[in-house]
Symmetry: C2
């Protein structure tokens, strides 16, 4: 946990309502540091439907493997999250650790081990001592409350400088339902799935298959469109749970991912976007946020790859840190993306200031106006490719000396 | 040009011999700054065979377009290189500028415009005023000398902290031939062709088609295997010229890229590697060089992609800057590469210290020994994938606060 809060942190945090059907509590299990909250337990007293998306890393953590296997079952009763140790690249010991943790959680909650989900964040490659969990899970299962979201979000922070929470409501099946979410993540953030840990719970009654469909579609333009440092974590985990408590209010059953879910879908996607942007705004060392919009690409996928090429470029990100309207580096990043581009049709804007058009500097371009945009905390960059209708927006932060400092001595 | 020389600079520079058949001279044309050498002219009094490889950027500079078009002709009489302005993303003005420069050079040398080659380095997006060349090229064509390599290398520096030169000799067709080369480049360096400007000249008599074959093969494990910041320049240019002066010594003619060239090929590739490593060692802000070797991948291409994923990872590079033997980040980078990998077969070494084996921390691993390696200036990293026979080595440098500083205010 860094000493000072990101200048891009929210001015106020969302007032998180209780979420019916999920109880949470935290404890200090001494996983890496003494006397620091490092375990979060979520308990669903009645079985919740569950969906998840995970890192596409070829070297995923043991908890990611464990969750993937359990997801087929579609039912969640407990989630155990720890910080301080990622249980990644820990070999057989890692698998043994997930098994022991799940066993302890299942016993504490009174459920099956395949109804338990696990997530770990922290250092890679150190064995995670599962015996540290056994002492605390019984107590957590008993102590959990529904009104614990903000504290839970704080408990899963690592290099985060502020907790990330969001809440939305939607109409579904004739009743009002609530969606609460939290996320953690500040470094090793790249859009190749969920890019960090995030847990979202709704009291809506939605079957697991529909939940998975909603989540898989929702992650693309949200969590998979943010990048801090292009480095994809071994542990990325985004899970969505539906407790079904709204059924008692008379919510009409949901059977498919169709138009009856439009309101819920919009609220869910809005919440996912909110959490994803909070992750970028807490990017390690970040002082500015950049929204890169690419329009006129061959197709939406090409637009996203170009936008990511810009958003991941160290030279673009250092220019932003230096408040330098260096659009030449945007051209460079478009060129290296490998996507179709016609240099002589490119146009580039910082905010409303068009700095380049028809493949050269805009003749009417004002350096002072462009620099004024660069001095903002939030910097919109727009690139018009001029070839088609493909469009995408990707969010990133600047690359500062503080990023180098934070990551130059993280382990020590 | 940065104030202090990279700590990784060569202790001594190669003693560059004259190269028969090419004369060089430099001038201060005031392209960006007054009273600073910013133009280099190379003149081949007799037509030289020429080969080239260029950036794969979709937004190449005007000089790159110009050279690509002339390369088909296979003959070079003059090369004009300028710093201070890349003539990239300059639209119609950029093309007009290359045409005017080539016209002036052709007139000065007495050759055709398609026997002129151009390279520009510096800021992207500013129009390059070609009239600045017209005054100096006549004088440069007359003044050039064969013994000017070190001064020429200095003239093409931008953010470079030291000039990059190398020389080799080889036996070819019964006589001794010489190869001289120079390069510039410190940032916007990524292996997607030549990654900077480099000019190599031999007095051997080798036809252009054979020269191209040699160069295209030689660039892969050399210039295309170095990366400073993953950002591919719009201007990358590597050209190889053969003046043919050795024919007067009785060099037997070369007709194909075959075994008679083995000695020359080895010397050329060794020189290309030497220059490429000098570029990395002058990486912006670099204090350490890292050689990343990946073995046991599915095939050589997969090995190179994994090695690049490691070498381009900001988290790996900041760990190196912090002298932190953080092999977990190596695992992360292997995982995000997208290439086949079996987490439980991975092994990782820093120098001779094996830190991970069989997908977990090496039980005999000594943190002190690994840290001692990280304190070195040159850090070998080796990753065994355990799947096949694919092998590749890629060179990079660390990511320091100085990189951020240099690139946060480059334009200003």
């Amino acid at each position: 946990m860094s000493g000072s809060v990101s200048p891009l942190a929210p001015k106020t945090y969302a007032d998180m309502p209780p979420l019916r059907g999920v109880r949470m509590a935290t404890a200090a299990a001494g996983i890496k540091y003494k006397n620091r909250t490092d375990v979060l337990m979520m308990v669903f007293d009645r079985p919740a439907a569950v969906a998840g998306v995970f890192t596409r890393s070829k070297c995923p953590s043991a908890p990611v493997d464990f969750c993937r296997a359990n997801l087929a079952h579609g039912v969640a009763r407990a989630v155990v999250v720890n910080s301080g140790n990622a249980n990644a690249f820990t070999g057989r010991k890692g698998r043994e650790s997930t098994r022991m943790t799940a066993e302890a959680a299942a016993k504490a909650v009174g459920c099956r081990e395949d109804e338990v989900f696990l997530a770990s964040t922290g250092v890679i490659g150190e064995p995670l001592d599962a015996t540290k969990f056994s002492g605390v899970l019984d107590g957590l299962a008993a102590a959990g409350t529904e009104d614990f979201w903000f504290e839970a979000a704080k408990a899963i922070m690592t290099t985060d400088t502020y907790p990330k929470v969001a809440t939305r409501t939607a109409e579904l099946g004739g009743v009002k339902v609530t969606i609460n979410g939290m996320a953690k993540g500040a470094g090793m953030i790249a859009p190749d799935m969920a890019t960090m840990l995030s847990f979202v719970v709704t009291d809506a009654d939605i079957p697991a298959t529909v939940l998975q469909s909603l989540l898989s579609a929702g992650v693309g333009p949200t969590f998979n469109s943010v990048t801090v440092d292009s480095d994809t974590s071994t542990s990325d985990t985004l899970m969505l749970f539906a407790t079904g408590a709204a059924a008692t209010d008379g919510q009409a059953p949901v059977t498919a991912d169709d138009a009856t879910l439009d309101g819920f879908r919009a609220a869910l996607n809005d919440l996912l976007r909110d959490l994803a942007l909070q992750v970028v705004r807490d990017g390690e060392g970040a002082r500015k946020m950049v929204a890169v919009t690419v329009e006129g690409a061959e197709n939406d996928d090409a637009a996203k790859r170009i936008a990511l090429s810009i958003a991941n470029s160290p030279l673009v990100k250092t220019a932003v840190a230096g408040e330098d309207a260096n659009w030449g580096r945007i051209v460079m990043a478009v060129g290296k993306s490998g996507e179709m581009a016609d240099r002589d049709r490119l146009a580039i804007w910082f905010g409303d200031v068009r700095v380049a058009v028809d493949g050269e500097r805009d003749p009417t371009y004002s350096e002072a106006a462009a620099t004024a945009v660069m001095k903002q905390e939030d910097i919109p960059v727009r690139v018009e490719i001029g070839l088609g209708n493909g469009r995408a927006t990707v969010w990133t932060c600047d690359l500062t000396k503080e990023y180098v400092e934070i990551n130059g001595d993280y382990r020590s």
